[in-house]
Point group: D2
Chain length 284, copies 4
């Protein structure tokens, strides 16, 4: 099967970037199969994502990175060049609600998520059986409300041990400590059970019910230290009416949450999400 | 053409309501063409809307009301019985943005809104021509920011003179004084250029842009004294991405706003919206 | 936990139906928690669905049926009165594609589908493990293309043995024989991987791709002898663009299919779907 | 105000296209403000659209075209380079239904459609007043069913006289003769009142009603000689239920039709739609 290099760039916008980058790739014989670009006129920032057929270039990702580095320096790029042969390692964190976990596991078995699921970590033991049925290690790390530090130290150890590239909070319901957020900055994805910035607090569906809204939503975002305020990757909504009870809203919410999280994670794994200024560019 | 009576009821839920009401109508020979009911289990409140073929009942709306009153009393109903021959009189209030006004005028000419548009009132003169082309009186009532009272007194006079049943704030951009809100309680409809409760303040599309949301929305609601917190009638959203400028968001917003307002007004005019506890039941 | 009786009626429309039915229920002390009615003006047919708190009526479903029968006769009703304590028994039929099966199994464990899943029947053995993990019997019934009759005889035997109330073709990919369709008329639900009536034949997503459509869809319908032409219960769509390959369309299609099938089955199990004239009334 | 050049290219895919084109533009000092590319892996075709700040290039569109021509030849490009200062001239054709016409006229006054509306042509006289209120010439060209040729000759004369770049069939309800289709190939946009390929014939909403579908749709497409089979630009749907009459479907259909047509026309005017193999690439 073919493999690909993905070049992702964010830099100050100026003339000649595309020309330089595309000439460089053409000069190496590279065949571009996908190309996306975006100039943000407000921030003056330029974003690009190229997918290159690896076989068309006679060099490894590492060598290609070295060759590209001078151009990157010249244009002050934040950049990455990834090789699709190296699958991302993902750690899923869950609590007692299963809908997002089961959905991600299913999509993973259906080859919709190009990654290895290295481990599932939970503060409860409920999801052990379904996780292990999928052949994935399950770690039960109870969190003592009186002293959460030991639990998070253990979480950190497990995440490191799993050599995780990415952490997905699939309804984990615990706030990660800042140290972990920083260490995995831009690589922790959360699903928020609300159409942010509405109803940012607890029990959002009950809040929504009381307010009598006609739409409920969910938000997938990168986790930052500022709770629920990280860059939004994806959002979606579900229509509701007076007929629906809070339980119905919770049920609809599950469907929206899992769909939004799955899309967000998929795009992240395919290097389609670029972050700048607490916002995302998504080359979906 | 056939005309109809519409019976709309809200009361404490208890056994036998439907039986009593439907037996009463059947007893008068009434033919029911639409029936909607809702029991709100949380609040213990019952809502119903019946549409009755007027010709099937050999009496005027007034006589029918008198005949029904004892049942209404017995069940402590908030209720209304309207006759579709008596068209509601609507006053539209606008500022300088035309999209909602033009949309409502068009739908009115296309017979989508069963009402008379009695007048358009604006704090600017911009919409005079298109309004008068439709044969509708236009009143320019400038609002002096230093002293708004005279303008609102004039607005009130014009609304009274127009014998308005309903006021639509079609992007009026001024806050109505509490006296007017009270006098027309449950009959002033606003379109809010945001997916409430998000971005409740000014320039919501620019707020949305800065927050990097992936969906923008609009909310149609009844006006109460508590700004932007009245009962929500309808909401909808439009998907956006990093490609879209604040101007694009404003443009998408216009489309959502006019669609949501038109639906909300139509439902109001057809007695489909019942309010209780700052929420709506919409028999759409 | 409370249980309920559900009364579902379809009959020629005439005055007094609601009055008679609701008076009957009130006369038995019955508390109605949900009521839906629809008069189809074109066909002159009336549809209703009442949910009655069983404890409010001092009699069994059977006794209540006997008491109601004279009214049903008088109004020439097609009707059913079900007891939510008697869970429907569902047989799922699948082929090699797992998405609908896994989704239904998940929703079943999450209490979104009020039924017993009596068995899974497949012409392949692929889904045995996930099925049995859920504690459900799995029957592998290979279909010989040269002579399908023995397989379908076995299917029929298994369905009978399972005492199935309802058969769900969750991507079964085989055409059921007319005898089975007739025997379970109105109780076989199919998910069609297309926005019917578009692309009714094979490989609909590839057809859609070649036609360059901007939306793909799926259709949940009751199976009749006339292939793909049975009453539609639910449909939905997913937006696509030139960026998407046939594989992407298949992937989006899976999401639409499973969502649409789950909604359709849920509504069926809750007696929300009434069929008349090859169309459905869905009291969703 | 700034103006822009838009370069739109479709050609066989091969290495080095982006490099050559972007280097050419950079070599002229050109500043690219929008860039979109697409490689269709099935057809092996490459599509691109660049928007270039005209002031950044010290030459007219004509000179730039001459300079670019050799590259275009080398890569066998279908291509166009347009100047946003030269506004497209659009002729709208309507029959008696006003919703699409009124919507387009409104969007035109709201600066959402970057074009001149050169004329409105209709086989009826109904839309004269609203058209002329907008200051646009209105031509009433009755079509004699027994001999349509004279009418279409007159239409052709008027279209030529208006120096039209684009014809929009905004519910014209007449089939254009092949000669006109050919002459304006790729520049005649139709709104089809159906979710093509479903219900391709007459009265699609009544067809949809009879089939009991749960969604109705509309399709905006380029007109080709093969009726209703031209490249699809955009589609959208509206949800319906058993509650809705054929008239409701017609009303919902109007909303979908005008929204879909407005999007399609806007994209066309902004050179966002590229056609190949009876399909479109839409850089929306």
């Amino acid at each position: 099967m073919s493999h690909y290099y993905r070049l992702v760039v964010s830099c100050p916008d100026q003339r000649g970037i595309v020309s330089r980058v595309s000439s460089f790739i053409a000069g190496q014989g590279g065949s571009i199969t996908e190309a996306s670009q975006h100039s943000d006129l407000e921030s003056g920032r330029f974003f690009m994502r190229y997918v290159i057929l690896a076989d068309s270039i006679g060099m490894s990702a590492e060598t290609l990175r070295d060759a590209f580095a001078p151009i990157a320096d010249e244009f002050e790029m934040d950049w990455a060049l990834t090789d699709t042969r190296r699958r991302r390692r993902v750690v899923l964190m869950v609590s007692r609600e299963s809908h997002c976990l089961v959905d991600l596991l299913y999509r993973w078995t259906a080859d919709e998520l190009d990654c290895d699921i290295a481990a599932v970590i939970s503060n409860h033991d409920d999801m052990r059986s379904i996780t292990e049925w999928h052949g994935i290690p399950y770690h039960h790390v109870p969190v003592d409300p009186a002293d959460k530090a030991p639990a998070f130290a253990e979480v950190q150890r497990l995440v490191d041990e799993a050599r995780a590239d990415c952490i997905v909070l699939a309804r984990y319901m615990q706030i990660l400590p800042p140290s972990l957020c920083e260490r995995y900055a831009g690589r922790v994805i959360n699903i928020h059970h609300s159409f942010l910035p509405s109803f940012a607090g607890a029990k959002p569906y009950h809040q929504a019910y009381r307010r009598g809204v006609k739409l409920i939503g969910a938000t997938c975002h990168y986790v930052t230290e500022d709770l629920d305020a990280g860059p939004i990757i994806e959002q979606d909504i579900h229509r509701v009416s007076h007929c629906h009870t809070p339980n119905d809203l919770v049920r609809f919410g599950r469907d929206v949450e899992k769909a939004v999280l799955a899309r967000g994670l998929r795009w992240h794994l395919e290097d389609r999400v670029l972050v700048h200024d607490n916002k995302t560019v998504v080359f979906a």
